[in-house]
Amino acid sequence: MAHRYDINSALLRDLKVPLDGRTSSSHSATPKQHSQGPSVSGTAVIGVAFKDGIVLAADTVGSYGTLCKIRTVPRLLKVNKNTVLAMSGDYADFQFIEQHIGKQSIRDFNSDDGYEWSPKSLHSWLTRVLYNARSKIDPLWNSYVVGGYETETNRPYLGGLTMLGISYTSPYVATGFGRFIAQPFLADQVEKNPELDEKTARVAAIHALRLLYYRNRESSNKYQLAVVTKDNAVVEPVKEFETAWDTALMIRGYD
């Protein structure tokens, strides 16, 4: 309870776990530990579907409990020219998934049948991986947003996925704290204008990140966007968005 302000909770958790699972003598063996929380983690990610594709947005902070440990960490992954993945949660578990996807892509390439990940198939596979891990009470501590362009149906695809294996598709997705602050905003935008164009979707996604920067402890104003259309998927370089602080001048004192 007091840990939040004196000792970093992530540091405390990391120090408790033995560095290697094996021990020197059998009678001091520690039992296998299950995931109890993230170490270096990413905060909320945003996904918005527009008429011809999707936009994924994430800031670039790698938090270590309450410490902002790494200022620029890529949380968007281009899987192939139709599919992009955005992560929030434990970064190590994301890197494990990243390598898993890479290995599977190589296997698919080697079978030489032209088969590649589609956003739907990636979403489905990732759901199985996460659900099976949670069923062993050892979850991969992540929430994902899977987005892309389905060439079979010629429609944009956007789906959300949590560490418990809750999987769904929607025209707008937000994970973590974004569910409370960004999702109402995105829902309103999409309901007002069901046929969004790319420019509006980008502005909406960046504003959702701005709202997170204002009200979420872990967010920052450095961000990355990934845009997928019929032609290509592009993960754009890291940028910074502007914020407005003039209402702060209206505040004097606390009562």
Partner: protein, 278 residues
């Protein structure tokens, strides 16, 4: 004659005397009653010349909606109203107690009570109860120093800002406020902003819902608009006004009669009271 034991003027408004008894009852296996909470969205905004307060009208007990149309805009003074989120009883009685205290203060000060007085009194009371009085309030009003809104958390801390939101739907409402708030709005713009913020809470938070109530306070006075907006299903809407005027049922005759009664007995008794002295 024994002194009345139910009212002790020395003690403060709340009494924890029943705490030990309640613990004993729980030990005996009796289940405590479910708390009625106003899982809520409340919002306040300052505009040029006044404040706008807004709230939803849903009160929940666990996962059940206990009241579809409760009022969360509480009267404090003619120039000051209070939005209450948290445990319904706590917000209701705290604000009632405070309204009484403010009336007395206004009489003794012989002035209109400023918002900061209400805030100071509320804070000091809530801090005294160390957060056990679960009332998350937003006090809003117009006084000699201008329009002012202040939020008060259950543990007794206060926050001053041009736009505020409290309750379970506060984060959804805050996203609307952060996007659309501008300084020096007109009253219509401010009402629309508050309405949109409460609507975000009502839509996205399961513990907020039903109608939207609005209160506009300016230097000229306060106006409570209840309901400002309703989301009633068509089936529940009344088809007609069912208050019938006099004469709808034909009056056949009217008259006055004396009731005959018998006097059974008369008695003269001496009272124990002291004779009245002039």
């Amino acid at each position: 004659m024994a002194t009345a034991t139910f009212f002790d003027p020395e003690s403060s408004g709340f009494q924890f005397d029943n705490y030990a008894r309640n613990q004993q009852l729980v030990k005996q296996g009796i289940k405590p009653p479910k708390l009625m909470k106003t899982g809520t969205t409340t919002t306040a905004v300052i505009f040029k010349g006044g404040v706008v307060l807004g709230a939803d009208t849903r009160a929940t007990g666990g996962n059940i909606v206990m009241n579809k149309n409760c009022s969360k805009i509480h009267y404090l003074a003619k120039n000051m109203y209070c939005l209450g989120a948290g445990t319904a009883a706590d917000t209701e009685y705290t604000t009632r107690l405070m309204a009484g205290k403010l009336e007395l203060l206004a009489m003794s000060m012989r002035r209109i009570v400023p918002v900061k007085s209400a805030v100071r009194m509320l804070k000091q009371m809530l801090f005294r109860y160390q957060g056990h009085v679960s009332a998350a309030l937003i006090v809003g009003g117009v006084d000699m120093l201008g329009p002012k809104i202040v939020s008060i958390a259950p543990h007794g801390s206060s926050d001053n800002a041009p736009y505020l939101a409290m309750g379970s739907g506060s984060i959804a409402a805050m996203s609307v406020l952060e996007t659309n708030f501008r300084p020096d709005m007109t009253a219509e713009e401010a009402v629309k902003l508050v309405r949109d913020a409460i609507n975000a809470g009502v839509t996205n938070d399961l513990f907020s819902g039903s109608n939207i109530d609005i209160c506009v306070i300016t230097i000229d006075g306060a106006q409570v608009i209840r309901p400002y907006e309703q989301n009633q299903p068509e089936v529940l809407k009344k088809a007609n006004n069912y208050t019938f005027p006099r004469g709808t049922t034909t009056v056949l005759s009217q008259g006055v009669r004396k009731v005959d009664y018998h006097i059974v007995s008369t008695e003269i008794r001496k009272t124990d009271e002291e004779p009245m002295e002039t």
